[in-house]
């Protein structure tokens, strides 16, 4: 239960939950498109969502927004020719026009020899029970105020964001397949800065419904980090034993999952290409304590999700005990290579309804610090961009709470570093893992994914230059 409570009798946001598409409504919209499609084969994809958000800055709410929309994508197939038309106008005439347009375009597109036939009906697990609702503007403003008030009392400045999403999706085709799923997710983040601009702290709270948020703990963490990070000192860039808080771990480890495409590996365009040819399935690439998976049970969706073709998702272990167990095979590449398609929804962070988990260990940050003679503690990374796809090497910077560890204690704040580093490299230098917890690892801190990551301690993390940014 969240600290600020949630009154079940309070009016919900105007756009929820009525705007969340039911299974019957989704079926009706899908049929409206299918029965009007002139194409020999047709697929209909429906995405419906309501969103409510509140932003705060300089210790006050600055803007907020609410919207709802339902988009329908109609893909027309004419043999191996295909084209899609997407619209948010759902009446029969509009959907018929969109279906006709998709078919007219499809007929003109050269055949795609890699196109796979539409799937027959699939069976999906039952949806889990969950109330899909959005908080009112007042509830969101109250949550924001918990953070801004604590910041104000400490002569600090809070900026932050609350985003809540709830919606439903469906997929249907002319071969009788119908998939339906619903989901909700919420996230709250805040950056708290000192008025002199020398200190900055950050914290997040992430979950599937508004009641999962814990703004009081978030406020306390961000405020503490802001106080502790004031007046940082510069230390030399170089290789350091580094403790990554769970968000920092997630910022970088999720990049591995994104690179696990079988085709790119088999064609020589990936870290997962085996030198000489083939891919790295079965090869050990990181420390044996590393296990990375996508699991529908972690997903913000109530049904666990289905992929673009309508295959129900299943748990996929990408790396187990340091060894590559799976790469993502789409249906075409799977057939070509004589394996089963990977039921992960595209692999990587997109997989299993945008759920990703790195299994944790038994250590914790306090113990990791205690056992560190000299090292760096990182709250999170930012502006992470690919540098070298051959090694999954990325660059980016630390942000909002970077500290020096000396003789088993966090001693002082340090200036931010830029890194040029690969998760593959530092996961080979693993010292310890904490428990896996849900974090927000997306750069713009939006709601949507469920990412579970442990704090980790690694040797020889490469920081390549200093930044004056606070």
């Amino acid at each position: 239960m969240s600290a600020f409570g949630s009154d079940a009798r309070a009016p919900r946001s105007l756009f929820a939950p009525a705007a969340i598409l039911s299974r019957a409504e989704a079926q009706e919209i899908a049929q409206r498109a299918l029965r009007n499609s002139p194409a020999p084969e047709t697929r209909v994809t429906i995405n419906s969502a309501a969103r409510a958000d509140t932003r705060f800055a300089l210790n006050q709410v600055t803007t907020s927004g609410e919207n709802q929309d339902t988009q329908v994508t109609i893909t027309a197939f004419d043999g191996n020719r295909a084209a899609s038309v997407n619209t948010n106008r759902l009446d029969e005439a509009s959907l018929a026009a969109a279906a006709k347009q998709a078919y007219e375009i499809a007929k003109l597109v050269p055949p795609n020899p890699e196109r796979m036939p539409e799937l027959e009906a699939q069976s999906y697990p039952p949806l889990r029970e969950r109330v899909l609702s959005l908080p009112t503007p007042s509830e969101r403003a109250a949550a924001a105020k918990i953070v801004t008030e604590l910041a104000r009392k400490n002569d600090l400045i809070a900026t932050g964001f609350i985003e809540c999403r709830a919606g439903a999706s469906a997929l249907a085709n002319s071969k009788g397949l119908f998939a339906y799923d619903s989901s909700s997710s919420v996230t709250m983040t805040s950056t708290v800065r000192s008025p002199d601009g020398t200190g900055s702290g950050w914290a997040c709270s992430d979950g599937n419904s508004f009641a999962d948020l814990d703004p009081a703990t978030l406020a306390a963490t961000a405020v503490q980090k802001a106080r502790d990070s004031r007046n940082p000192v510069a230390i030399e860039p170089g290789r350091y034993t580094t403790i990554l808080e769970p968000t920092a771990t997630g910022n970088l480890v999720q990049l591995i999952a994104g690179a696990m495409q079988a085709r790119a590996a088999d064609e020589g365009r990936s870290f997962f290409t085996k030198p000489g040819g083939g891919n790295k399935i079965g090869l050990k690439v990181v420390d044996e304590r590393v296990t990375l998976l996508t699991d529908p049970n972690d997903s913000p969706s109530t049904g666990g999700g289905y992929d673009d073709d309508g295959l129900p998702l299943e748990k996929v272990v990408w790396i187990e005990n340091g060894v590559v167990k799976n790469l993502n095979y789409d249906r075409y590449w799977a057939q070509k290579q004589g394996v089963a398609p990977t039921r992960s929804g595209g692999g990587g962070f997109r997989g299993a309804g945008r759920a990703l988990r790195m299994m944790g260990g038994t250590s914790n940050i306090a113990d990791m610090v205690k056992g560190t003679e000299r090292g760096v503690l990182v709250t999170r990374f930012w502006y992470i961009r690919p540098v070298d796809a051959r090694t999954i090497l990325y660059t980016g910077l630390t942000r909002d709470g970077t500290f020096l560890i000396e003789n088993g204690k966090v001693t002082r704040p340090i200036k931010n570093f830029r890194f040029n580093e690969s998760p593959i490299f530092f996961l080979n230098n693993l010292e310890a893992l904490g428990p896996s917890v849900r974090i927000n690892a997306s750069e713009n801190l939006g709601a949507g994914g469920a990412v579970y990551m442990p704090a980790i301690k690694v040797r020889d993390f490469t920081f390549s230059s200093l930044s004056d940014a606070v």
């Binding site: 509140t54 300089l58 619209t87 050269p110 985003e163 365009r269």
Partner: protein, 543 residues
């Protein structure tokens, strides 16, 4: 216009307020405005205008001191190919209305795709409810800078060929021909090419009497070629991003001539496999406009956004090293005297060109950096008033520069950058003449990997093709190159710039900012520029 649409529009608009349908709002009913897909709504439709007036009236009668309402109909098309295959052709259209209300100095915003009178009124009420909820925690009310108001007019991107009228066969044929030209080069294993088109018709009505209709086009052809070594131990790509996205029509695709460029990009990718890894160190660096635009975007355009400088974007996009305003305006030297930067929304074919911004302000061209000195920020109406004291002290009017933008009807407008561009040097220098004057150094074409901290101090930028220059000549390619700098030092190392003949517009189709993240399209004009003794790192780590 078809008969059915006009009739449906009338039916929708005449449904009385208060008759909200009890069934799902997502399903068609008699209260819906029905707009068949083959007949995209026009933003200036009188019935739509009447609905917008409903939103304004609801907001005003609910206590809003100011309100604006936007209706947008956006159509996009993507054509994607790989090698000899068309991977996807997709059309997207979206249509809806967003209303923003200011109540006692606090904002609220709501948007709906249901364009009937009741739904629009409900959205306006939702925006009012938010504004009142948000007011409770407010410390400083929003004050809007004055505008002339009563802005009425139309604006349209200066296109020659509407991309949505060009046959899909022509588009597919164009891309596959380009792929074929690249695949003929030995060593090329993978080619991707695409084209993306956008047309947005949007209308804006404000409570201070403005009504504006604009039609915006954007076009982006692109191509990437990848070479793989025979032993599967290396691969290298070249993106043809010398071709920038533009605020033009299909003529931009035609003029881009991808099939003519493709063999050259393919040869460069193959050569890159055996290129010399760069030796880290300090080098003179000549940056082509196709590379420099992104650096200007990240380390000049972003940190001169006033909301960043004041701390409003601290949680995501970040703050700015060009702050606080009172300490830096007219006082902070950013670069050498060669550095002159202007903001504008008028360069023909640029992504940022518009007639009015999303709060009915007619943009003006304005100086951001003058002879190396920082002189002004990018602003919106509410931001300009935060600078009143400064503007009055230097005799400038308190006005918005026209930087308010929302990516769609579903998103609230906020400060987004206009085109932010270099002013060319007063000389005849070009890329070629500047290489000829270089004794020893590196010349970079195309934008590549980029990463910058949240205050824009530390930047690391790569590129597409890295040339080693000796004695005024290109002597070969290098690989694994990135330049890394501290922003103020970087611009203070600016030694020479090209003249008007070498001016080139680069651009970003999807510049992200804000929470929820919104995408802005913007161009940056640059000239080739020589920087002295810049730190070059080698990014090709193997362990």
């Amino acid at each position: 216009m078809t008969r059915s649409r006009r009739d449906f529009l009338k039916a929708g608009a005449t449904v009385a307020a208060g008759s909200l349908v009890a069934t799902s709002p997502l399903l068609a009913d008699t209260g819906r405005i029905v707009l068949p897909s083959d007949d995209l709504p026009r933003a200036d439709d009188p019935v739509i205008k009447a609905l917008m007036q409903v939103a304004i009236d609801t907001a005003k009668s609910g206590g809003a001191s100011y309100a604006d309402v936007r209706v947008a109909a956006r159509r996009q098309q993507n054509v994607n190919t790989r090698d000899r295959i068309v991977q996807g052709v997709s059309d997207t259209d979206t249509y809806g209305l967003g209303v923003r209300t200011l109540v006692d100095g606090a904002w609220g915003f709501a948007a709906t795709s249901r364009l009937d009178k009741d739904s629009v009124a409900t959205a306006a009420k939702a925006a009012l409810e938010q504004a009142r909820a948000n007011r409770a925690s407010q410390l400083r009310p929003v004050v809007l800078a004055p505008t002339p108001g009563n802005q009425v007019g139309e604006w349209k991107s200066p296109i020659e060929i509407d991309p949505f009228t060009v046959a899909i066969t022509d588009k597919v044929g164009y891309l596959l021909a380009a792929n074929e030209a690249a695949l003929k080069v030995k060593g090329i294993r993978n080619v991707n090419s695409s084209m993306f088109f956008l047309r947005e018709e949007k209308s804006l009505m404000t409570s201070d009497g403005s009504y504006i209709v604009q039609t915006i086009y954007r076009t982006s052809p692109s191509m990437t070629v990848t070479a793989v070594s025979p032993d599967f131990r290396d691969f290298q790509s070249v993106q043809g991003n010398e071709i920038a996205p533009m605020g033009l029509g299909y003529e931009h695709v035609v003029n881009s001539k991808l099939a003519e460029h493709a063999p050259r990009w393919a040869e460069l990718a193959v050569q890159k496999l055996s290129a010399k890894p760069v030796e880290p160190g300090r080098y003179d660096l000549l940056l082509h406009p196709s590379n420099l635009w992104l650096t200007v975007h990240e380390v000049i355009a972003h940190p001169t956004e006033l909301d960043r400088a004041l701390g409003f974007e601290a949680n995501y996009a970040g703050t700015s090293f060009i702050a606080p305003p009172k300490d830096v305006l007219g006082k902070l030297r950013i670069g050498t005297d060669l550095l002159n930067i202007v903001g504008d929304r008028e360069q023909k074919g640029s992504l940022g060109a518009i007639g009015w911004d999303d709060e009915a302000v007619k943009p003006v061209k304005f100086d951001i950096i003058k002879n190396g000195m920082f002189v002004d920020y990018q602003t919106t109406r509410e931001q300009a008033t935060l600078m009143s004291d400064y503007y009055q002290s230097v005799g400038k009017p308190v006005r918005s520069y026209g930087c308010s933008y929302a990516q769609s009807w579903a998103d609230v407008q906020f400060q987004r950058m206009p085109n932010v561009s270099m002013v060319p040097g007063n000389n005849d220098d070009t890329w070629e003449s500047m290489i000829a004057k270089m004794d020893k150094g590196i010349a970079i074409v195309g934008d590549g990997s980029f990463s910058i901290d949240q205050q824009r101090y530390n930047g690391q930028f790569a590129g597409q093709v890295f040339y080693e220059v000796k004695g005024g000549k290109i002597v070969g390619q290098l690989k694994d190159v990135a330049y890394q700098f501290r922003t103020p030092e970087f611009w203070k190392s600016l030694k020479a710039i090209g003249g008007p003949r070498s001016y080139h517009l680069g651009g970003a189709f999807g510049d992200a900012k804000g929470q929820p993240g919104q995408s802005n399209s913007v161009s940056h004009g640059c000239v080739p520029s020589l920087f002295q003794q810049v730190n070059i790192i080698n990014t090709g780590r193997t362990a």
